[in-house]
């Protein structure tokens, strides 16, 4: 498996960022960055990363199973993450979650039929003082209102 030249350069640098013989340390970063390009961690990707980090595929799968951001399933073009943890809950995070779920007709970790949006109820994303907060892929949105979320979903559906 090969990746884009930019990603290949990043991976090469990554492997050099740890002491000699400790290439396994690059495993999680490598999974995160390759997942971003490939979409999800397929069997093929797991095997490729295992080879590059000098571990077995089983060791990769064991790690993938532990971390919530590593996914073996294809997600939507936009992954919509809504925080309902305590600070967000107090100022409407749960209402945002209910609204998005109802409007999209999908639940936690599900994808819309057209593949445009996937939804996840997430734990605190470090935006508590600017709550309620959500993330679309890696982008933060703060002080989100129901109307803004509603419009955001309409826009995301259009750009599939």
């Amino acid at each position: 498996m090969t990746f884009s030249p930019e990603l290949e350069a990043r991976l090469a640098k990554m492997l050099e960022s740890y002491p000699k013989g400790r290439e396994r340390a690059a495993l999680i970063p490598m999974l995160m960055y390759t997942q971003d390009e490939v979409g999800h961690i397929s069997k093929e990707l797991a095997e490729e990363v295992a080879k590059r980090c000098g571990v077995t595929t089983l060791q990769v799968e064991e790690v993938v199973g532990f971390y919530t951001m590593l996914r073996t399933k294809k997600m939507g073009k936009t992954h919509l993450q809504i925080c309902t943890n305590i600070s967000c809950l107090l100022v409407g995070g749960d209402e945002l979650w209910q609204h998005a779920s109802k409007k999209l007709g999908i639940g936690h970790n599900q994808v819309t039929a057209d593949g445009s949006i996937s939804l996840e109820e997430v734990e605190c994303i470090g935006a508590c003082s600017w709550a309620p907060a959500i993330q679309t892929n890696y982008d933060f949105h703060h002080y989100v209102t129901l109307d803004q979320l509603d419009k955001l979903i309409d826009d995301l559906r259009r750009i599939q």
Binding site: S17, E123, C128
Partner: protein
């Protein structure tokens, strides 16, 4: 980032570059005292640096509040093994959002803090472990690190002093438990984030089984000013056994939530009423989580206190991570307890039974109480179960789940009772049988 304007009552030290134009760039940094402390430290002896940090009474800002200078002093300097620096930028304690600001607006300050720590213990390599959700901050840190290499504040022979130091970012992948120091080290090494048995502590055996200084972002960021202005100066800003200022993240039911820098020992009610604009009109204070959701909650009448380690401990809670969650009288405490335990259940790494099973059962019981189908004995069961977890888990996550739960049930019991199933229990019938009928 909609970062609030500084409030006049703040004591601005660590956040002083936040509002400068282009604050993250090395040029801005250098024009505002940047790397002056590192330059000074590179000419200081290891003992002198560590003594200055000891004198400052700086205590870890990640939650546990361990004295930083003492921790640095534990590193066995004669050890032939390489020594490492690891920054805990996993920031996942609910209510906490301060490390984000430090990395977004002043990334070079963190690099400078790491460089000073490296010099203090003779480390030549380090990693900034940043939670995966903070990708934009990883990009900002990567850029700052590249600038620092170019200007020779990182790399070989830093500023011609003969000292080498390499630093890189390392992304997490979504796991609160990886904020716990030993789990973080496992994760850094490419494994599941399960904690290690301690001792040995990271200072003796950390990353790759080598002596490692592991501190929170804000802790490293406090170090440059300590070196520049002296440990005594920093200590004098705080209270007798805890020096300096810290970033308070105020969230929840206040009119102007935000992040504010205050000296240790700042009055809690002033932070709420002055800095965060007080409660919404017509609302009264009900409860406060003083330092992230792992801390026992305080009732409104317990909140008139200075925010220092001892005062919070006396009140039965903790200073924690600086994440203050304010709840007014509209808050449903049963729902709050359930949401908090849901988080810990989700994040339990599953390694030990009291935490893995305890959080699961707490979630189940609190769910039925919240759904209005609980019975009276459920309330006691929540308390007992949580008490039984205390001190019996492999890492502190178990306590972090139990402590807030115990405090909410104890302090707001009437709210739980008001939500019990409305059924009559016939004499001689076990209460738990009733559940079948509701």
């Amino acid at each position: 980032m909609p970062y609030n304007k500084p409030h006049p009552a703040e004591t601005i030290i660590i956040s002083r570059r936040f509002h400068l134009p282009n604050s993250a760039s090395i040029d801005t940094f250098l024009a505002h005292d940047g790397y002056k402390a590192a330059r000074k430290a590179l000419d200081m002896s290891q003992d002198d640096i560590i003594n200055e940090v000891k004198k400052s009474n700086l205590r870890g800002r990640g939650g546990a509040g361990f004295p930083t200078g003492m921790k640095w002093g534990f590193v066995p300097r004669q050890s032939p093994k390489p020594k490492y620096i690891v920054v805990n930028a996993d920031e996942s304690e609910p209510g906490t959002c301060k490390d984000r600001l430090l990395m977004e607006f002043d990334p070079h300050r963190l690099i400078e803090g790491c460089l000073i720590a490296a010099k203090a213990v003779g480390a030549h390599q380090g990693w900034v472990y940043i939670r995966g959700e903070y990708r934009y901050l990883i990009d900002i840190m990567d850029k700052a690190i590249a600038e620092a290499y170019k200007a020779n504040w990182l790399g070989k022979n830093v500023q011609g002093t003969g000292f080498d130091f390499d630093l890189s970012t390392h992304t997490g992948a979504g796991a609160y438990e990886c904020g716990e120091e030993s789990a973080l080290l496992e994760s850094l090494e490419g494994k599941r984030g399960q904690p290690r048995i301690r001792p040995p502590f990271p200072a003796v055996s950390g990353a790759f089984q080598c002596p490692t200084i592991l501190n929170n972002v804000e802790t490293f960021c406090a170090v440059p000013d300590i070196i520049l202005n002296g440990g005594d100066w920093y200590a004098s800003l705080g209270v007798p056994r805890a020096g300096g200022t810290r970033l308070l993240c105020i969230s929840g039911h206040v009119q102007s939530p935000g992040v504010f820098e205050v000296p240790i020992g700042f009055p809690m009610m002033r932070a709420i009423n002055e800095m965060a604009g007080g409660l919404r009109p017509g609302r009264k204070l009900k409860a406060v989580i003083p330092g992230g959701s792992s801390c026992p909650v305080l009732k409104a009448d317990e909140c008139d206190l200075p925010m220092d380690y001892d005062s919070l401990a006396k009140a039965g809670s903790m200073l924690g991570s600086g994440g203050m969650v304010i709840m007014d009288d509209s808050t449903d405490m049963v729902k709050a307890a359930l949401r908090i335990i849901k988080f810990y259940q989700h994040e339990s790494c599953g390694w030990c039974i009291p935490c893995r099973e305890g959080t699961l059962w707490l979630k189940k019981i609190l769910t039925r109480l919240d759904d209005g189908i609980g019975v009276r004995s459920d309330i006691d069961l929540v308390g007992e179960l949580a008490e039984n977890m205390l001190g019996r888990t492999f890492c502190p996550l178990g306590d972090a789940a139990a402590l807030p739960t115990i405090s909410i049930v104890k302090k707001f019991r009437a709210e739980f009772e008001a939500r019990l199933a409305q059924v009559q229990v016939p004499a001689g019938v076990s209460e738990s049988l009733v559940r079948i009928h509701v």
